[in-house]
């Protein structure tokens, strides 16, 4: 039943809902999709700001640009691999039929997520040590801002995972896995942006 059919219903006519089966998606799935939309808007706006700020100097006709790209240390790739591994573990949990397997896989996924966060922290320390301070350049500022916001979302995901594991509810574990995949996609796009500019 398409949305357009539902919105075309002539509700004032008798028997108007005759052909409309009930549409009841799970509340968690609807809530999660809505939140994913919110986070997508937030990260898209940041990316738009990133691109606009990056090209500003040349657009305004100034000589050169104040944008100095950051190097890509190996840690960036290691962290990304850890997050991919984490997502794979969550996918195993999502597909598991037995609850025990789902719980074990999601614990592995969450642990790898924690490793990713620690890795990101080490990445920050690495950049700090190399002199790439927050206020030194807009490229640095955007890097710290984007990774921080992504990290906060990972923390939220870990909190939700803990809550799902305590409850032992397999439906919640599946929702957590979907959220984790979303964060992986966001990270791949962000890392792609940071590496390519």
């Amino acid at each position: 039943m398409s949305l357009f059919t539902r919105l075309a219903e002539k509700s004032w006519e008798p028997k108007s809902d005759r052909d409309l089966p009930p549409d009841r998606p799970s509340a968690g799935a609807v809530g999660l999709s809505a939140y994913v939309a919110v986070a997508c808007v937030m990260f898209s706006l940041l990316v738009a700001a990133y691109v606009m700020r990056m090209g500003l100097h040349s657009a305004m006709g100034h000589m050169g640009s104040d944008w100095v790209p950051m190097p890509d240390p190996p840690l960036l790739w290691i962290n990304s691999a850890v997050l991919v591994g984490s997502s794979i573990a969550w996918e195993v949990a999502r597909r598991a039929r037995a609850q025990g397997r789902a719980v074990r896989a999601s614990i592995a996924g969450a642990a790898l997520g924690l490793c990713f966060l620690i890795g990101q922290w080490m990445l920050w320390r690495h950049y700090q040590a190399a002199g790439y301070y927050l206020a030194a350049n807009p490229a640095n500022a955007f890097f710290y801002l984007l990774t921080a916001l992504h990290g906060v979302h990972i923390m939220g995901g870990l909190g939700a995972a803990g809550w799902a594991l305590i409850g032992g509810n397999i439906r919640h574990i599946r929702l957590c896995a979907l959220y984790w995949h979303f964060l992986l996609v966001i990270w791949i796009l962000l890392a792609g942006l940071l590496v390519s500019t």
Binding site: L7, S16, L20, R24, S26, A27, A34, V41, A141, L145
Partner: protein, 572 residues
Amino acid sequence: MATTLADDLRPLHHPRSWLTKYVWSQDHKVIAIQYSVTAILIGVVALILSALMRLQLGFPGLFPSIQPDNYLQFVSMHGMIMVVYLLTALLLGGFGNYLIPLMVGARDMVFPFVNMLSYWLYLLSVIVLVAGFFVPGGPTGAGWTLYPPQAITEGTPGHQWGIATMLVSLAIFVAAFTMGGLNYVTTVLQARTKGMTLMRMPLSVWGIFTASIMGLLAFPALFVAAIMMLFDHFAGTSFFMPTMQSMGRITPTEGGSPLLFQHLFWFFGHPEVYIVALPAFGIVSDLISVHARRNIFGYRMMVWAIVIIGALSFVVWAHHMYVSGMNPYFGFFFATSTLIIAIPTAIKVYNWLLTLWRGNIHMRVPMLFAIAFIFTFIHGGLSGLFLGNVSVDVPLSDTFFVVAHFHMVMGVSPVLVIFGAIYHWYPKIFGRMWNETLGKLHFWITFLGVYAIFLPMHYLGILGVPRRYYALGETAFIPESVHLANEWITIAALIVFAAQGLFFFNMIWSLFRGPRADPNPWGAASLEWLTPQTPPAHGNWGPHLPVVYRWAYDYSVPGAARDFIPQTEPRA
């Protein structure tokens, strides 16, 4: 996993003590009242600020305690409080919370705990906002738009701590709203009772639902802008801060783009206008239909118009930036998209008028406010046509014409609907009736008063009187009559200000002394009037959820026994 009824999902959270029943409550009705009371209290603060501004404008220099810095702080705080902390919170947090579950036939919101959290975060954001009045330097005086670089540069009132409390408060508010908004959207999509198809929902729910989606998509822009400005302010980054001299010194920031902030701010700011307007559109449709005893004219068109207005409002934001120095070609695009919104909006206005046409109109207080809304909304909408055109907007920018326009269209209009809605649903919320005479007195003073305030402002604007000025001083193009008009506006504003006392007295007095209300005093057909108890008890519906057989607008149906048929009545 699909379930057939929200009813069967899980047991409700039952309050066990006084604290969990009235303070940390997860019941949508209690949360709605908490949201509304908080929003109205902070709204009164903003109202007092506006009275102080008017005193300064009408009688400059008469009150030596109002200095230029204070005046700018009043302007900024008044604007931000009214738009975000009063209107958004009251229409979505208050009415959204109360009406959505009752109107769609649910027991509560889908995520009651998150709903409770949403209120407490909102309260925290209000407390942080109010803290701005007490930090060194006072609240920010940067205008409600908070444009950098001036918002965080020496010389602007509250540039050190006032702006920080404002930005932090906004970030908390966005988090609170997101929690609430997820609930409203999910409840509408997931928890409608049997037979309540999307197109059988009352227009109030449609307005609130669409506005919630818009809020979820627009508030992240404000969040991002606030976080980035906090970085610029405290960490010395240059997202928005350009190379500049301040107080004779070159600032350490360089290369940032103030225009970037304006884009982010208005990407939130324009949808925000409709986040406030759409719930008002929905509610006013229901008030008009109930009190005119007629089905709403063009229901489907009304729903589609709400959705189309919501979508279009995301592609018009730069009409707030015609004089910002952005690419002039943008102006052409944004003027066009702005004027296109007039089409669905006009459809709505015509449909309200056609609902009234040959209706059995009962001039009760809620209806008076609803009809008054049509006046002020048409009025504010028409002046919007002037400002939407780049060539007309440029000379009118930053004049009192703009102040008059947006107060008419998104200040007075939604507030009139809010008053109408409170009078309309008060008997259901508290089980008591208010005093009709006081209500009518409140209405007439408010309605005529707002015209006395805002109509002359259009003329001031056309004369070129600038907004946000502490005093006009000796200016060649400003004639003596401007000062006279300012005195008149101030006196009218003070009368309207005082008249709100009638409303508060009526509401509070009726709470204890008002006569017991009938469960359905207006003879309305929608579900919220059909609860087994008035006020509705925890869980709303008793042992069984209502089943819906028809839309919410079966009024004056030929051949029917009464002049309305409740949504729960099966078809013959």
